[in-house]
Amino acid sequence: MTEIRFTVDGRPCLAKPGQTIVEAAKANGVYIPVLCHYEGLKPAGSCRICTVRVAGRYMAACTQPVTEGMAVENTAPDLEDMRKSLIEMLFVEGNHFCPACEKSGNCELQALGYRYRMLAPRFPYLWPVRTVDAGTPLVLLDRNRCVQCLRCVRGVRAKDGRKIFASVRRGPRVAIEIDHKLAAKLTEEEARRAMDLCPVGAILRKETGFVRPIGRRKFDHTPIGADVEKGIGR
């Protein structure tokens, strides 16, 4: 199989045919931040945190395949600031109270906030009124923390393939709904996977909050992306 040559911020990299920029960059030890993207799921390109610039055009690195000779800009100051502003927008459009959230320390949005040194958002808080759906035995859906990444919609399915989570309504009223009948049949393992799939604290495996002590959480010691940069994520 012929390898494709491309660069990220001038650094020569190699990709396999069909690989997206995110996948190929990761294989070369280059971190491009993602939030809605999850390995193994069809890319959605919805959050735009992975936005890179190629030949002056902005594109979602999680959906764009690499082409021969592509010169990707990843860490230009204006790109990084745009990513930071996207993270800030996600914080202000939901109700994200990290201090009491059991996903704190394991949350990808929080970890991105730290990585991009977000101190206070530049946008006003919207304080939306959102609801909690606790009506299924193993899983709790807290819409206050949802960032509409659609990972759950794409990745959590019943045994017959039907979707358990769905995105309903549009615009500022968009929300995730859960099929109570299907969710009632989730096994322990499936419920845990649903929680792990959610990048924030919107989907929780009930009754297990805070079992992992501070110091042993995913991002307690290294920032998000450090595994890719150290080559562990390849």
């Binding site: 909690v132 009506g135 929780l204 009930k206 002590p213």
Partner: protein, 482 residues
């Protein structure tokens, strides 16, 4: 045209106390009030949250003793998950105890040295510019350093048990999320920097001697200032021993008669009522059996040493015996003796920490246990400032539907008002002008109760206090704000 929105009261504001004193035509005090004008709203916004979140969420009430709220909520949720008192894995209960006694140690050290000692060591009428912890550094650098290190030790214990010095996550419904690794334990027993538990015991004993020395030279002040009879309430261990983590609810009156006899706190609503008054956001709890007028009580170190029969650690017990002998075994109703009681508790906390550190149960592997679900639970704990009540109802879907919290400072509401009234009538009444020293005496009376109106209260030992003198016609004659 824009519009103006006013929000009053401003919520989550820390530390605003207000005192009003009314005078008649002759300048005599007719009424005094200590208002707490903060509004927090935790009981409301915890509704709808999953029950396992409560211990981490509600501890944000406070930055000084969040461990108390963390553990009181966890104890209530233990009952909800069917692991009520006595059913926790032994490692979990002992880890929680270690966390709590660590907190008691740091909080008591903070209060005595940083907040209260400037009044004693520098004088009630000293220049307020130096009558603070900075002044203590100037007076005795060694003592000030010791105070900081004592607090640090307690905070390190909390870090080892809860994962963070402030607002950790250790306790979870039905248990704890970590045990104590031997290396974590050893640094408290034989730390290379000398900050060992034995050193803390030594320093706590020295603090008691410091207070005793001051007492010996200032008996009239320490014994007489804001002294008044009251009921006293606290948890005590089933055998009557002092216990900060768990026990039965006991109250004695000013003469030592039991007015509430060792009851299970799950039924606290049968014994404790809460009265609201229009001029303060803080409620006024009372013993139902004695009624609203006579049923008010004190909590905290003074109350605890009045309700308990003994202290289950040798050095603190010896100090307790001397303390009790001073009042011939009767309850102690002298407000400033709260500091003495607090220091005896400081010593006891250090002794218990040592006992726990040497206990191999802390390295156990069984951390959580759950049983049959219950729709509600009550958790009580002896916080540094006194008895803390947490009560929650939880739906079958795991969401909190009701929360009722009676915090230590609320329990002391009437007592602090009485203390302020004592100062008004004995220090201010009949005098035309409020002096700074007079203001400080109002604070000293309130401060003895170590009220957690706020972290700001604790910032430099000077509350943002407002004192208003109102004459018989309702006109404000003088107002001082600082």
């Amino acid at each position: 045209m824009g519009k103006k929105i006013t929000i009053e009261p401003v919520t989550r504001v820390e530390g605003h106390g207000k005192v009003t004193i009314r005078l008649d035509d002759a300048g005599r005090v007719t009424e005094s009030r200590f208002h707490v004008v903060e509004f927090r709203g935790f009981e409301r916004f915890v509704q709808g949250r999953p029950y396992w979140e409560a211990p981490v969420l509600v501890q944000r009430l406070c930055g000084i003793c969040p461990v108390s709220h963390h553990l009181a909520a966890a104890k209530a949720m233990d009952v909800v998950v069917g692991t009520g008192p006595g059913k926790l894995p032994v490692t979990a209960e002992k880890m929680r105890r270690l966390m709590h006694y660590g907190q008691m140690f740091q909080s008591h050290a903070l209060h005595f040295f940083h907040l209260a000692s400037p009044d004693f060591l520098l004088g009630l009428d000293a220049d307020p510019a130096v009558r603070n912890v900075i002044g203590i550094i100037g007076l005795d650098k060694g003592l000030a350093t010791q105070a900081v290190l004592m607090r640090k030790f307690g905070q390190e214990i909390i870090l080892a048990t809860a994962g963070k010095k402030v607002h950790g996550t250790g306790a979870i419904p039905g248990g704890i999320n970590k045990n104590l690794a031997p290396e974590e334990r050893d640094r408290f027993l034989k730390s290379p920097d000398g900050l060992t538990v034995d050193r803390m015991i030594e320093w706590a004993r020295a603090a008691i001697e410091l207070f005793k020395g001051y007492h010996a030279k200032n008996k009239d002040l320490v014994d007489g200032f804001a002294a008044f009879p009251s009921n006293h309430l606290s948890l005590v261990r089933k055998d009557g021993a002092l216990d900060f983590y768990h026990g039965v609810l006991r109250a004695v009156d000013a003469d030592g008669r039991k007015v509430l006899g060792d009851v299970d706190y799950q039924d606290y609503l049968s014994y404790i009522g809460e009265e609201t008054r229009a001029w303060s956001y803080m409620k006024f709890p009372y013993l139902r059996s004695l009624g609203k007028a006579a049923g008010w009580y004190r909590v905290g170190p003074l109350a605890r040493l009045n309700t308990c029969d003994y202290i289950p650690s040798p050095l603190a017990q010896k100090e307790f015996e001397a303390y009790k002998a001073y009042t011939d075994g009767k309850p102690n109703n002298m407000s400033l003796h709260t500091h003495w009681a607090r220091l005896i508790e400081l010593l006891h906390a250090a002794e218990v920490i040592k006992e726990l550190l040497l206990d191999k149960d802390l390295q156990g592997g069984k951390l959580v246990r759950t049983g049959r679900r219950a729709p509600e639970g009550v958790g009580l704990i002896e916080a540094p400032r006194g008895t803390l009540f947490h009560h929650y109802r939880v739906s079958a879907d795991d969401q909190i539907t009701m929360a009722n919290l009676i915090v230590s400072t609320t329990n002391n509401n009437e007592s602090m008002n009485r203390a302020v009234d004592w100062v008004a009538r004995n220090v201010i009444s009949g005098r035309p002008e409020i002096t700074e020293g007079m203001l400080n005496r109002v604070e000293v009376a309130i401060r003895a109760y170590d009220p957690c109106l706020s972290c700001a209260t604790h910032a430099l030992g000077r509350m943002p206090l407002e004192v208003t003198l109102v004459d018989a016609a309702g006109r404000v004659r003088q107002r001082k704000v600082r």
